[in-house]
């Protein structure tokens, strides 16, 4: 019997409403995110003003487009609206995925796990029937409108959310977070001006309560949301947790995105009710979409192809966060295998990197003023991340070579402080950075932690 319960029924269908509402809310949230980014002047500040941009491995051909970068954001914003209303959905979500991912790949400095989450979520949504119900597409073409869809298409999103939470929880199970309450011990006291909570935030027990509570929340919340009996309680926890993170940390739109995403766990009746409210306000006849038709995928090669993409996608999602095991040394110190692994809010890292340009023949040397080439934010990020240090060193080497310098060797004197410990030397100061390159092999020129 136990075995039977574990079996997953791929042919089972369910109401299309949860996925349709998810599509609508996702599109709206993305539109707000783009507008907010523009409103803060961040397009100019992060993608047009800097003189140099940090690339991801293999993506150095992908650059901001000067003033045209604004057009990229316009395309991204428009496609998010089209996703929300479900107009030419497949094309819109592809355009959204490509434009959003392009934006994120332009400069590694702005990497956030949240942005990565949006990229892979929108990639997943390309393959899901999110516009067969309650969409412009479904209204325009009745043959493509369905009231029911395969259940697994909704469960895909639940699985991805579950991975994000659970892996974020796993990542917290390490000594700094659990035993030293770091970095919350640094971050929380500086939020003394928060109403009500401010008084408590310098208390030691509060730092530990937040650390342990956060780890427990991340590990348990997917299961509490799946289980019908605990779902109501879990959603309350989701709202409280994310609102709290919003108040305490400069975390942008992410808390709101996660709160509305968690709605997907509810029964379809909840989504029908919400869509009903929307219909009343917008004077939409919701009954048009309730056509009793069920979407069933035929066993074509296209279906098989899509299925294999999804399987590969989830296998990558499950394995990628463990790639750090392939590297020696402290993960937080070397950051080898740190990104794309749901390691969120885990460390407070500050650094300083002073680059020395040496003429290898004459021995003449001078230091670089980093602010000549990098923004304050870029300097901050670069000085604690070895791959960015190397990329910047190579940029400096090429630049000074063009200026007529010869026999260029580049050394860096760098210091990093991690989670409240005193700063220590970071990169081997005797290694000529022009002779090393960034790649997937172990970076032996990082000094041991």
């Amino acid at each position: 019997m136990q075995f039977h319960r574990l079996k997953y029924e791929f042919s089972e269908t369910t109401s299309a409403a949860p996925l349709a509402l998810f599509r609508i809310l996702f599109g709206i949230m993305m539109f707000i995110s783009i507008v907010r980014f523009w409103y803060y002047g961040w397009i100019e500040k992060f993608y047009i003003e800097p003189k140099f941009f940090f690339s991801y491995y293999g993506f150095d051909w992908l650059r901001p487009l000067g003033e045209w970068t604004y057009l990229l954001f316009i395309i991204c914003g428009l496609s998010s609206i089209l996703v929300a209303i479900g107009y030419k959905y497949r094309l819109s979500i592809v355009v959204f995925f490509l434009s959003f991912t392009y934006i994120e790949l332009m400069d590694k400095t702005t990497y956030l796990n949240h942005y990565y989450f949006i990229s892979i979520l929108s990639f997943l949504m390309i393959f899901l029937p999110a516009s067969v119900y309650y969409s412009m597409d479904a209204r325009a073409d009745k043959t493509k409108a369905y009231e029911y869809i395969p259940r697994w298409t909704i469960d895909c999103i639940k699985l991805l959310l579950g991975i994000v939470y659970f892996y974020a929880g796993l990542a917290k199970l390490q000594p700094d977070w659990m035993l030293r309450a770091m970095p919350l011990k640094i971050w929380l006291p500086s939020k003394y001006d928060i109403p009500l909570l401010g008084n408590l935030l310098h208390e030691n027990w509060v730092h530990y309560a937040f650390s342990w509570g956060g780890a427990a929340y991340d590990l348990l919340i997917p299961f509490l949301l799946i289980n019908k009996r605990t779902r109501g309680f879990a959603f309350v926890a989701v709202v409280i947790f994310h609102v709290l993170t919003r108040v305490l940390f400069p975390i942008g739109m992410f808390p709101y995105i996660m709160i509305v995403s968690a709605l997907i766990f509810f029964d379809p009746s909840v989504h029908h009710k919400i869509l009903g409210y929307i219909s009343n306000i917008l004077k939409i006849d919701k009954t048009n979409f309730d056509n009793r038709r069920a979407l069933a995928y035929s066993n074509t090669s296209a279906t098989k192809f899509r299925n294999s993409i999804l399987i590969v996608f989830f296998v990558i999602q499950i394995l990628l966060p463990f790639r750090f095991l392939a590297y020696p040394g402290n993960l937080f110190w070397t950051e080898q295998g740190f990104r794309f692994s749901w390691r969120v809010m885990l460390m407070e890292k500050a650094g300083y990197a002073n680059f020395k340009i040496v003429d290898g023949v004459s021995g003449k040397r001078f230091y670089v003023n980093n602010s000549d080439f990098l923004t304050a934010q870029q300097q901050k990020m670069m000085s604690t991340q070895p791959d960015m240090i190397v990329e910047y060193a190579h940029f400096l080497g090429n630049k000074f070579a063009l200026d007529g310098h010869q026999n260029i060797e580049i050394y860096v004197e760098s210091y990093v402080a991690l989670n409240g410990r005193p700063s220590r030397p970071y990169i081997n100061p005797n290694i000529d950075l022009m002779k090393v390159s960034d790649g997937f092999e172990n970076k032996e020129w990082i000094l041991p932690y």
Partner: protein
Amino acid sequence: MKALISSFLIVLLVLSTQSCGENDISEIDIPNDNFDRGALLTDIADNVIIPGYINYTTDLANLDLMANNFSTNPDAETLFQLKLEFKNAYLSWQSVSMFEIGKAEALALRNNTNIYPTNTSEIEENISTGEYNLALPSKIDEQGFPALDYLLYGVADTEEEIVKYHSENEKARNYLTDLTSRLVSLTNEVKEDWVGDYRAYFIENDGSSATSSLNKLVNDYIFYYEKFLRAGKIGIPAGVFSGNPLPNTAEGLYSEEYSKTLFLQGLNAASDFFVGASTNHDEIGESLKSYLDYLDPDGNALSEKIITQFEEIKAKANELDDNFVTQIASDNTKMLETYDELQKNVILLKVDMLQALNIKVDFVDADGD
């Protein structure tokens, strides 16, 4: 369930609207925890910044007076008096240079006061044409103390010739008094703002946002330390950023005896600010040191390390010649060693202290580095 959802969406809405102001100044009363940031800001304003500006404006008034004396009656005696006041005011300036906040920031006081090397050919052009607008951003290297340094010490080889130059050149004397009166008016504006409304604004802005007083002031302090004290006064003349020494970029280039004094004054001001010593050295108040000691979660004794390093720098700097041009020519290694000692505190201030205080360089979304 539906009621639950709608009620929590309402809670969410309420909370999100009230927490949206990343850049707002907190208008909420700050709860009393054990460290009182308001007291810290009060001490900084009342013991350090405001007395610093009062001293400086007094010295500037004397400088302006003597410049006018010299202008009406240019002789060896009035030049001697003018040079004395020049030195006094230049030294007082070093104690307030780091506080580029509020009105000083709005007026770009530091850029209009002490940009060197000064542009002597433009200065001579200004004098000969008599037409110049010192308020233009392009004119920052044609005014302030470096330009005065040139006019009082650099326009001729001997003191007699300098007196002669000025007595025969009314336009030069006008330029001289224009420079001093501009320093006076700019600085008075800053001082009046501090003794007026700005003090209260500065103290009440005791939140933790990127625009809070402490956040801004600490960033300004480190910026000053790194850019003006470390690089401007020592690193650039010693050739740290160019490969070759650039002695002509030393501070006090023409007076030929003050570059070390000016540097030490700036250095002492920076270390006094850190420990909370008042400008008039009669009091120790709340400071970055006491704040760090309060926060120190792991007993790192960071403040002790920073203070020790300040002492190391002072010891190294005391070995330097009064005139850095001479020092660079005779033994630039000593300049480079002083730079290295300065550099060590950049790391402690910028990496360790900023982390301990949780002060960010900029407002941007983050998920924890």
